[in-house]
Each structure stands twice: as structure tokens, then as C-alpha cells.
């Protein structure tokens, strides 16, 4: 009993210390006049995003601003609490990469009530939320889908049967990338979608879906996947069926793994989204807003880039550079 009481007191004192130190930090930020940028991020353990985080940290150092980065662990309600906390701490600007773009509105409202400028990065919210935020930094999801399919259409001479492998159903990128694909196909009367199915962004599921598609005996000229991992899965299944040479495969992301498949000629097309560009620009924009400067344009686009065998080496080098930065 005594031990338990002692333990309780110990825990309480630890919590109190935590609270005090929290106050201390907030005060520090104000006292030495250093600018504080809050960054509400969706999840820390994601490879692509981790490059964006590194770029943000580096960018903040360059701008001599303090960066408070928090992890919502893919939970929207947690992210809202975190943004509210940043508002209470009185940061000078907030960068949000939403867990879910449809749940970002209350976060923006909370910040705007306290007159704190808000930058949304990487994931584009709907038009009514965009009206309220001060800036959006990122790429336009739908463009990756159109860019990918345009290249495929070019390689197929504008005619052929296309199978689309989609990501997790209902996910923003899945919806927009697929729509981008279909918009392009509509423009080509000789192209048609013969199959569409989900492989949940995963390689293993990609193999399985492709195996079943091969068994269906349907004629397919191109497999267009919402991400690279599924495209690699399709490549594996096509290879064991001996059909890889006859069928085009396209992905999106340009991951280091996928680039190896581009180099070997198995993956014909992929689309690169620049994490470092997005991270740097998000910080630069946030600092500008915090200083009260005006932006030229509220929408800061970081364009997608098309990767094929011709230019793949450039991107291999780029990833190497990013990894060295990580150190």
C-alpha cells in the first residue's frame, strides 16, 4: 500500500515536471524573440514523409526558426488536440499535413481564431478549407494520375486495354490518381479500362491480384497502379507467367526500390513526388507568413516529375543525396 502511494506521488511529480517544462519552452520561444513554427504531422514512421520532415527541420534551421513538430499517429482527433495545443502555446505559424483532408477544417478554424497563419502541406483539402488557409504547399494528386496515364497512352500509341490497380479504397490519393487515369483514357477513344481492382497499396496483394487477372485470360496491354509497390507486385506475377515483355507497367512515387525496376526495364513509368521540395517550401512559406509578408500566390505548387528509363539515373542520385542529408 505504502509503495503504491509512493509510486503515485512519484508519477504526479513527473507529470508536474512535464507540465512545467512545457510552460518553460513556450516562454523561451517568446523571450528571445525567436520565431516558433508549429508542425502538426500525420505520422512519423513513414519513409516518404520522413524525407519531408528532415527538409522541414533543415529549412527551419536555415530560417533561424524553432520548429515544434508533433506526431498525430494517423489519428485525426489527436491531430486536432495537437493543433489546439500549438495555438495555446502561441506559435507564430502552423504547418499542417492532415491525417485526413476532410477533417482539417476545425484545425484551421482553431488557428485562425487566434490569428495564427496556417500552411497546409502535401495533402490538399477541399476548396472551402483552402479559402481559409493562408497557403497550400504540395502537388495536385490528380496530376500524378494524368501524367502517368498520358505517358502510358503515348507508349501504347493511344490504343489498348488498360487495367487499373488502385490503393486503399476511399483514400484521397486512390480516388484522385484513379480519376486522373480515367480522365486521360476518356480522351483516347481506342483505349479502355478492362479491369479495376484494389491491392491496398501493398506488393503482396499486387501479386495476388495480378495472378488472378492473368488467370482471367483477358487481354491487357498496360497495368497502371496507384503506387509503385503494387506495380512491383504486378511485375513479379507477370514475370513468373512470362508475360512481362508484352505488358506495360506503370506506378507512382518513384521510391528507391521502384527506381531499380525502372533501371532494369521492368517498370516502364513512374511519377516522382518531391518530399524535400515540399518540406522546404512549407517552412519558407510559414516563416514569410509569420513575418507578415505577403505571398505571391496562395497555392505553392511543387510539380510532379515523370520518371522513365531515360532519366532514372538523375533520381537515383537524388535519393542518394537525400539519404546523405539524413546522415
Amino acid at each position: 500500500m505504502k509503495a503504491r502511494k509512493a509510486f503515485a506521488w512519484f508519477m504526479i511529480s513527473v507529470l508536474m515536471l512535464g507540465l512545467l517544462s512545457g510552460c518553460g519552452n513556450a516562454a523561451d520561444g517568446k523571450d528571445d524573440g525567436k520565431m516558433v513554427i508549429g508542425a502538426a504531422m500525420p505520422v512519423f514512421d513513414d519513409k516518404w514523409l520522413s524525407y519531408m520532415y528532415d527538409a522541414m527541420k533543415k529549412g527551419a534551421k536555415g530560417q533561424k526558426a524553432e520548429l515544434k513538430m508533433v506526431d498525430a499517429k494517423n489519428d485525426s482527433s489527436k491531430q486536432l488536440e495537437q493543433v489546439e495545443k500549438l495555438v495555446i502555446q502561441g506559435v507564430d505559424a502552423i504547418v499542417i499535413c492532415p491525417v485526413d483532408t476532410s477533417a482539417v477544417k476545425p484545425m484551421v478554424d482553431a488557428a485562425k481564431q487566434a490569428d495564427i497563419p496556417v500552411v497546409v502541406v502535401n495533402r490538399q483539402p477541399s476548396a472551402d478549407v483552402l479559402e481559409k488557409v493562408d497557403a497550400y504547399v504540395g502537388s495536385e494528386s490528380i496530376k500524378s494520375g494524368t501524367m502517368q496515364m498520358e505517358k502510358v497512352a503515348e507508349l501504347l500509341d493511344g490504343k489498348g486495354h488498360v487495367a487499373i490497380m488502385t490503393g486503399e479504397l476511399g483514400h484521397e490519393a486512390q480516388v484522385k490518381r484513379t480519376k486522373g487515369n480515367k480522365d486521360v483514357i476518356k480522351k483516347h477513344p481506342d483505349m479502355k479500362v478492362v479491369r479495376q481492382g484494389t491491392a491496398e497499396y501493398q506488393r503482396a496483394e499486387g501479386i495476388q491480384l495480378m495472378e488472378n487477372w492473368i488467370q482471367s485470360g483477358d487481354n491487357m496491354d498496360a497495368i497502371v497502379a496507384n503506387n509503385d509497390e503494387m506495380a512491383i507486385g504486378a511485375i513479379k506475377a507477370l514475370k513468373s507467367a512470362g508475360k512481362l515483355d508484352d505488358i506495360l507497367v506503370a506506378g507512382i512515387d518513384g521510391t528507391p526500390d521502384a527506381l531499380e525496376y525502372v533501371q532494369s526495364g521492368a517498370l516502364d513509368v513512374t511519377v516522382f513526388q518531391d518530399p524535400v521540395g515540399q518540406g522546404e517550401k512549407a517552412i519558407v512559406t510559414a516563416v514569410k507568413l509569420a513575418k507578415g509578408e505577403k505571398l505571391e500566390d496562395k497555392m505553392v505548387w511543387i510539380p510532379y516529375e515523370l520518371i522513365t528509363k531515360e532519366n532514372v539515373e538523375k533520381y537515383v542520385e537524388r535519393w542518394k543525396g537525400y539519404d546523405e542529408n539524413k546522415g
Binding site: K47, G197, Q202, A204, Q215, S216, K236
Partner: protein, 334 residues
């Protein structure tokens, strides 16, 4: 003369019994082989609905695809029979995958190193699951939920969130090679299935497993070392998950920390469809194998028919529940 008579008598008796019992025999037949009949019905249905379903290549394809979940589901069957649950299998697949892959680069280590490490990590995680829930008196749901979260974290940490590729050919054979035209995963699936069936139905170990699930208190009183047995059962489940993870890693030719998400639920579904009762004490390995095949046939058939992904999820859910419903009604009757 006398013996012949008795034999003749016996024959008439057994014949009579057969005749009188015909009406009760059908439900009995159904209750014994119900899920198998449902499976056959499903196969027949798919064969009618799509011309590409019923051919050797596609059937081999289906069995290969369910081998991975099937092996995990066998371990889960043991666990569920003891009235436990294992939520950690999916994450454990990811952890085993990245660790084994990092030791399977060509020319680095002999093949047995990644293999032993893989099943070793799986078994060790199972050992922790079992020890925490048996000795720590923590419900298996919570103990394995903890392992599910921790193993995924460890997998991400170990691999730095990236796939680990460049695996040796001998390792890749596990997932994509074949023997006499039969894919290697199928051979492992059937072999492990046979062994696990014998273990569950023909040994003291199996009997104790049922006994604990039927009535843990009674099993204790009967002198069964329940804690030790539970630890062994979870270790076995981890070990089997390790085997499956090795083959899956070879199949996708990379160790991936994001692999196996929700696989634990597929494995549990396979066991439950196959007649394993979540209230413990009931379940068989052949049943679980059929359960896994039902899921596989559904996935494959719906893909072949080009059913929209939204409808696929709805249909799969409905068919799984219906199959179990039919199966459980017969259990109530019996």
C-alpha cells in the same frame, strides 16, 4: 460354421442400422462435413459463373495464394481452441520478414541462417505472447495486441521503414519455386497441415489443447500443466507465422515492414469459417484449411469475374458470415 453365422448376423444388424438411420444420417453427414460441402458448393458456383475458374492452373493458383494465410491460421486454430486469440500474426509477419531478408542477401550467409532466424523470431515472439498471457494472467487479447503494436514498430525500426530487397535465389525459391510442377508454398502448406492435424488429433498435446479450451479449471485439476501448455501453443503459433512470413518474403522478394496488415483477421476468419469455436474446445486443422480455401476461392472468383472492389468487400463479408451461420446452426442441432 458358427463364425460364419455370427458374421452374417452382424452384417444384417449393421445393415439394419444403416437403413433405419438414413434420415438421421443426412444431418449427421452435414454436421460432420458441413463446411466442406459449403466449400464444394462455392467451387461449383464459381465454376458456373466464370469459365476461367475451374482449370488446373487457376486451382493451383488459388491454393498457392491461400498457403500463406493457411499456415498462420493453423497456429491460430490451436490458440483459439484453448479459448485464446492471437492478434499479433500480421505484425509478426512483417518483423520476421525484415529480419530474415536482411540475412538473405546473396553470398552473405548460408540459407539456413535466415530460415532459422525467421522461425526463431516468430517462435520467440509467440513465447512472449504465451508467457505474458499465461504467467502474467493478462487476457490473450491484450497480450497479443501489445505484441501486434510492438512487432510492427520493431519491424519499422529495424528496416528504417524501407523494403529490404536483393535476396538470394535459394531464398526466393521458398516463395516462387516449384517441385514437380507444384509451387513450393503449396507443398509446405499441405505438409504442415498434415503434421498439425496429427499433432492436434493424435497426440497428448492435442488432447490437452482441447481439454484446456473445454474447461481450463478441470484441465488443471486433471494435472495438466496449463501454463506451460499455453506457452507452447502460442510459441507454435509464432513458429508457424514465421514459416509463412519466410515464404511470403520470398514471394514478394523483399522484407517489408508494411507487410501483413490485417492478416491476423484473415487467419482468425479462416479458422472460424472452418468450424473453430471462439468459445474454445472445438476446431480441426482440415476445417481451418478448408476455411482458408473458402476465402481464397472467394477472392479469386470475384477477381476473375471482375466484380468491383466495393462489391467484393460486401460480398466477402456476407458470404463469410452466412457460411459460419449455416455451420453454427448445425452445431446447435447436434
Amino acid at each position: 460354421m458358427k463364425t460364419e453365422e455370427t458374421i452374417a448376423k452382424k452384417q444384417t444388424i449393421s445393415h439394419d442400422r444403416d437403413r433405419t438411420g438414413w434420415k438421421e444420417k443426412i444431418p449427421e453427414l452435414f454436421s460432420r462435413y458441413g463446411i466442406f460441402l459449403i466449400f464444394l458448393a462455392l467451387v461449383a458456383l464459381m465454376s458456373v459463373l466464370t469459365p476461367h475458374f475451374f482449370n488446373v492452373y487457376n486451382l493451383i493458383n488459388v491454393v498457392k495464394q491461400v498457403s500463406f494465410i493457411g499456415i498462420v491460421a493453423m497456429g491460430v486454430t490451436f490458440v483459439i481452441i484453448t479459448k485464446g486469440i492471437d492478434l499479433s500474426s500480421g505484425s509478426l509477419i512483417a518483423l520476421v520478414s525484415v529480419i530474415a531478408a536482411s540475412f538473405a542477401h546473396p553470398g552473405d550467409y548460408p540459407l539456413f541462417v535466415p530460415l532459422l532466424l525467421g522461425v526463431g523470431v516468430g517462435a520467440f515472439a509467440g513465447l512472449i505472447n504465451g508467457t505474458v498471457s499465461a504467467k502474467g494472467m493478462i487476457p490473450p487479447f491484450i497480450a497479443t495486441l501489445g505484441m501486434m503494436t510492438a512487432a510492427r514498430g520493431l519491424a519499422l525500426l529495424y528496416s528504417d521503414g524501407r523494403p529490404i530487397g536483393n535476396l538470394s535465389d535459394s531464398f526466393l525459391f521458398l516463395g516462387s519455386g516449384d517441385l514437380f510442377g507444384i509451387p513450393f508454398p503449396i507443398i509446405v502448406f499441405l505438409f504442415v497441415g498434415l503434421l498439425m492435424h496429427l499433432l492436434l488429433s493424435n497426440t497428448k498435446f492435442g488432447k490437452h489443447t482441447y481439454a484446456i479450451g473445454g474447461n481450463e479449471q478441470a484441465a488443471r485439476i486433471c494435472g495438466i500443466n496449463v501454463d506451460r501448455h499455453l506457452i507452447l501453443v502460442y510459441t507454435l503459433a509464432g513458429f508457424l507465422t514465421g514459416i509463412s512470413a519466410l515464404m511470403l518474403t520470398a514471394r514478394i522478394s523483399a522484407g517489408q515492414p508494411s507487410m501483413g496488415v490485417m492478416y491476423e483477421l484473415d487467419a482468425i476468419a479462416a479458422a472460424v469459417i472452418g468450424g473453430t469455436s471462439l468459445t474454445g474446445g472445438i476446431g480441426t486443422i482440415p476445417g481451418t484449411m478448408i476455411g482458408a480455401l473458402i476465402i481464397g476461392v472467394l477472392n479469386n472468383g470475384l477477381d476473375l469475374m471482375n466484380v468491383s472492389s466495393y462489391w467484393q468487400q460486401i460480398l466477402k463479408g456476407a458470404i463469410i458470415v452466412t457460411a459460419v451461420l449455416i455451420d453454427s446452426r448445425k452445431n446447435k442441432k447436434a
